[in-house]
């Protein structure tokens, strides 16, 4: 298990420097539909690509939508929470919180 804020076992996170941490961004999206989710995903991806392509030390991994709770959880690997904030603001997608997270990896694939 990774230590707090290390997240090195995250898929796609392993190639980041040891100083990078896992962050989870939470947003409530009541009544969001598939089209809106697609716009959101494209905007987050585009913003994160801009930042990572210029070496700003932030990478967007993926999002998980919990439909019943109308919550979207987006995972980032970044050196600072400020970088995560900047990416989400640049994506024009408001959020409720940014928290550092720990990943508990599942069993290794055969």
């Amino acid at each position: 298990m990774s230590g707090p804020g290390q997240g090195t076992a995250a898929a796609g996170a392993a190639d980041h420097p040891a100083s990078a941490s896992l962050f989870i961004v939470e947003r409530r999206l009541p009544m969001i539909n598939e089209y809106q989710l697609a716009v959101l995903q494209a905007a987050l991806t585009a913003a994160a690509c801009r930042f990572s392509s210029r070496g700003d030390g932030v990478r967007y991994l993926r999002s998980i939508f919990v439909a019943r709770q109308e919550r979207l959880l987006s995972l980032f690997v970044a050196e600072t929470p400020e970088a995560v904030r900047a990416v989400n603001e640049a994506a024009l997608i408001p959020f409720a919180s940014i928290e550092s997270a720990i990943e508990l990896p599942g069993p290794a694939e055969p």
Partner: protein, 770 residues
């Protein structure tokens, strides 16, 4: 501007305040590129004239964009999350969407063929890039013309560097004719002639003119700042002063960085020539975002060093010196600083150590404006119009509060007062996000936190997010109860009843509303009492308790009329109309609902208007007027589309019933046709159709018939009424607008057409419409 206008010449592009000089080649190139790409970015140093070039090109190409050419000025926006809102605002669309504004914007623009001018992108580069990438992907007929100091870096972007204005060649001997062939000299001559009548370039001053233009590197803003000084300085004095100021730059590579330094040095030189009072005022004015009027300047900037009695003269002096831009709006003037000059003012304000003090005064001024909204009196329409003009200043004040925890109580006070405005105009999701975030900075058990959460609850209700609305109301009520604040507790009970109503729990909703009403009566909190009576009227009408509903509705209307407000009155009339109708007095019920539509239209409350249109559709369907019902359902849908709203869940059953009856009466095909006709109405046409019992209005000929006019449909409508010899007051009454709004429209019309009087406008209308 009320959204949904289509036709050549639709735009919000400002009138040109000074002549457009030179730039023929660049203009031709911009226009050529805009026919080959959907994203063109004009880059260049500050003061290079990117905005001016973009606006001119946009104006000249407007005929190619049937859904308009729209300027989105980003200079005053600091928060990237407000960029989407800036676009909505420029389009004249009230964003009443729930949740994700970006997707609402793409949906709104998806079928539209228009040009967006995104001006001053440099400080929001990443956000602008994501916005543009999203729009170009999702909106195939939207073209973007961006300006900034650097390119956006988006796939498909075409970049064009806006160079300084052309200078005469490097030769020492240049004829006057050759000099005048240069754009820089031409601009200097034009602007100099404005302050020194008869100024011209001749053999006697050619050398000095050449020196000045070269010294300023052909940078338009630098040339403008220098030229206006010719009213008091000679060309030689100008050259000497600037030579000394610019000497520190040396003779390095005259690239972008050098030009930026030249501009900054010229601005510094211009600042140095001002009087002490003018300098101080410039610095203090930099706290305004998106412009200001004289009364605001007196509130925010007068004081030590700048007496209030001198403000008018000082604004005039700064305008004459090209530090301020001014546009007449009705009987008053609105001023603004170009972004480069605003940034310079901000630096000086920081150096003076006055930044926080002035920002506090700016916040105080917004608080005073908010109070006029919170008064709920007969100035409500004017107060809404004024605060709408100051939207950027409101966001700037809230932004200041987010950085200064001590100011959160002031933010809460302003938010409490502005609740009705935001409930009408939105943007719900942004207001809710900003206020919730501010609440986090307030002490846990504080009234500031509670009021912020309560306004956020109102926004959540407007977004149909009833779960959040209930949670926010519970949180604010708990604090209100603990701190024994009766008004807060009553308001929280009142708004907290809405989720119960939406959930079909009419008994629970009623109990909360009765409690709110009892508290309000006991403590004489008039606004809560009014809203509680109105909302109870709606709940009891839904519950079938018609006598009590009617009694409460009539009490609410009487109270509202005594206060002079329109917001609650519109809802009360709507609910009372429903109750009266259900009790059997259909003509009166319908008359009340029509009156409700008048109130909602007068306040430009599109959220409320859509609700009332649904009520009138239901009544028409019940009367067997299936055609009218279908038109009204289409019109309501149009209003919702224009504001990115979804149908309010509270009224879904009524909506489905109306639709079902109209479809049964007309058949699917005829219903769809009638619905489409209603959906094609503008918002003002929809309101007129709803209120006046007449046939669908004939389509207003598109603005721009005949020669290009640049008039919006609303402006054309007002121009016709001016030609019919109506006064502004009469036009205001006819169109359910405030007189101030009509004053503004008439001024804009005259500016756009280059006319000087109403008589000339009447003649122009006669000529163009035959």
């Amino acid at each position: 501007m009320r959204g949904g206008v289509r036709g050549p010449g639709v735009s919000n592009l400002p009138a040109e305040l000074t002549s457009f000089v030179g730039r023929r080649q660049e203009l031709r190139e911009v226009k050529r590129l805009l026919t080959t790409t959907r994203l063109l970015t004009l880059t260049g140093t500050g003061g290079a004239g990117k905005t001016r070039l973009a606006l001119r090109a946009a104006a000249e190409m407007s005929r190619g964009f049937p859904d308009g050419t729209w300027l989105v000025s980003l200079a005053s926006i600091r928060n990237p999350l407000l960029v989407t809102q800036a676009v909505f605002s420029a389009l004249g669309v009230h964003d009443l969407s729930a949740g994700l504004s970006l997707s609402s914007l793409t949906q709104y623009l998806a079928g539209k063929h228009l040009l967006l001018v995104l001006d001053n992108c440099e400080h929001l580069l990443d956000a602008c890039a994501v916005l543009v990438a999203t729009l170009t992907r999702s909106c195939p007929d939207v073209t973007v013309l961006a300006t900034g100091r650097q390119a956006l870096g988006v796939a498909g972007e075409v970049r064009m560097v806006v160079p300084p204005m052309s200078l005469p060649g490097d030769k020492d001997e240049i004829s006057v004719q050759q000099l005048l062939g240069s754009d820089a000299v031409w601009l200097l001559r034009e602007r100099a002639a404005a302050v020194v009548p008869g100024f011209t370039v001749d053999a006697g001053n050619a050398g000095a003119v050449l020196d000045l233009c070269r010294r300023l590197d052909g940078i338009p803003l630098a040339l403008e700042l220098a030229a206006v000084r010719l009213g008091s300085l000679s060309l030689d004095q100008l050259n000497q002063g600037l030579a000394s100021e610019l000497s520190i730059l040396g003779a390095g590579d005259r690239g972008a960085e050098y030009r930026q330094q030249t501009l900054e040095a010229t601005i510094g030189w211009s600042y140095g020539l001002l009087s002490e009072q003018e300098r101080l005022l410039w610095a203090r004015l930099s706290v305004f975002a998106g412009g200001f009027e004289q009364d605001a300047v007196i509130e925010v900037c007068s004081g030590p060093g700048v007496p209030a009695s001198r403000i008018a003269d000082l604004l005039g002096a700064l305008t004459e010196k090209s530090i301020l831009q001014r546009q007449l709006v009705g009987s008053s003037a609105r001023y603004w600083l170009l972004d480069t000059l605003r940034q310079y003012g901000q630096q000086r304000l920081r150096e003076l150590g006055e930044e926080t003090t002035t920002l506090k005064r700016h916040l105080g001024w917004i608080g005073v404006l908010a109070k006029s909204i919170g008064a709920w009196d007969d100035r409500q329409v004017e107060a809404f119009a004024r605060i709408a003009d100051e939207r950027d200043n409101v966001w700037a004040a809230l932004d200041f509060c987010s950085r200064e925890p001590d100011e959160v109580a002031a933010a809460a006070g302003a938010a409490h007062d502005m609740m009705t405005f935001w409930a009408c105009r939105g943007p719900f999701s942004d207001v809710r996000r900003v206020l919730t975030s501010l609440a986090e900075t307030a002490p846990q058990r504080s009234l500031a936190r509670a009021w912020l959460l309560w306004v956020a609850a109102v926004m959540a209700h407007r977004e149909n997010d009833y779960r959040a609305c209930a949670a926010l109301c519970d949180a604010s009520r708990q604090i209100g109860t603990e701190l024994r604040d009766v008004e807060l507790a009553a308001w929280s009970l009142l708004v907290g009843a809405i989720p119960l109503w939406a959930d079909g729990d009419l008994t629970g909703a009623r109990q909360r509303l009765e409690s709110a009403l009892m508290l309000a009566e006991a403590m004489q909190v008039e606004h809560v009492e009014l809203d509680a009576r109105s909302t109870l009227c709606g709940v009891l009408a839904a519950a079938g308790e018609l006598d009590r509903a009617i009694e409460l509705g009539e009490q609410a209307i009487a109270m509202s009329m005594r206060l002079g407000e329109l917001w609650v009155r519109g809802f009360a009339l709507n609910y009372l109309g429903q109750a009266t109708w259900l009790r059997g007095d259909r003509p009166r019920g319908e008359a009340l609902a029509r009156e409700a539509a008048t109130c909602k239209y007068a306040l430009d409350d599109r959220n409320g208007l859509a609700i009332v249109l649904e009520t009138l559709a239901w009544m028409a369907a019940e009367l067997g007027q299936h055609q009218r019902a279908a038109h009204l359902l289409g019109a309501a849908e149009r209003v919702r589309h224009e504001t990115s709203q979804t149908l309010i869940e509270l009224f879904r059953t009524q909506h489905e019933k109306s639709q079902s009856v109209a479809v049964q009466g007309l058949g699917h095909k005829s219903f769809e046709a009638a619905f489409a006709r209603g959906r094609a109405m503008t918002i003002s046409e929809a309101a007129t159709f709803a209120v006046e019992d007449r046939q669908l209005p004939k389509p207003v000929p598109a603005a721009g018939t005949g020669p290009h006019t640049g008039l919006t449909r609303r402006e054309l409508e007002i121009a016709r009424l001016v030609a019919d010899d109506l006064t502004n007051k009469e036009i205001a009454a006819r169109l359910f607008l405030s007189q101030r709004t009509v004053d503004t429209h008439v001024t804009n019309i005259l500016n756009k057409l280059g006319l000087g009087s109403r008589v000339q406008l009447s003649r122009w209308i006669a000529d163009t419409t035959g």
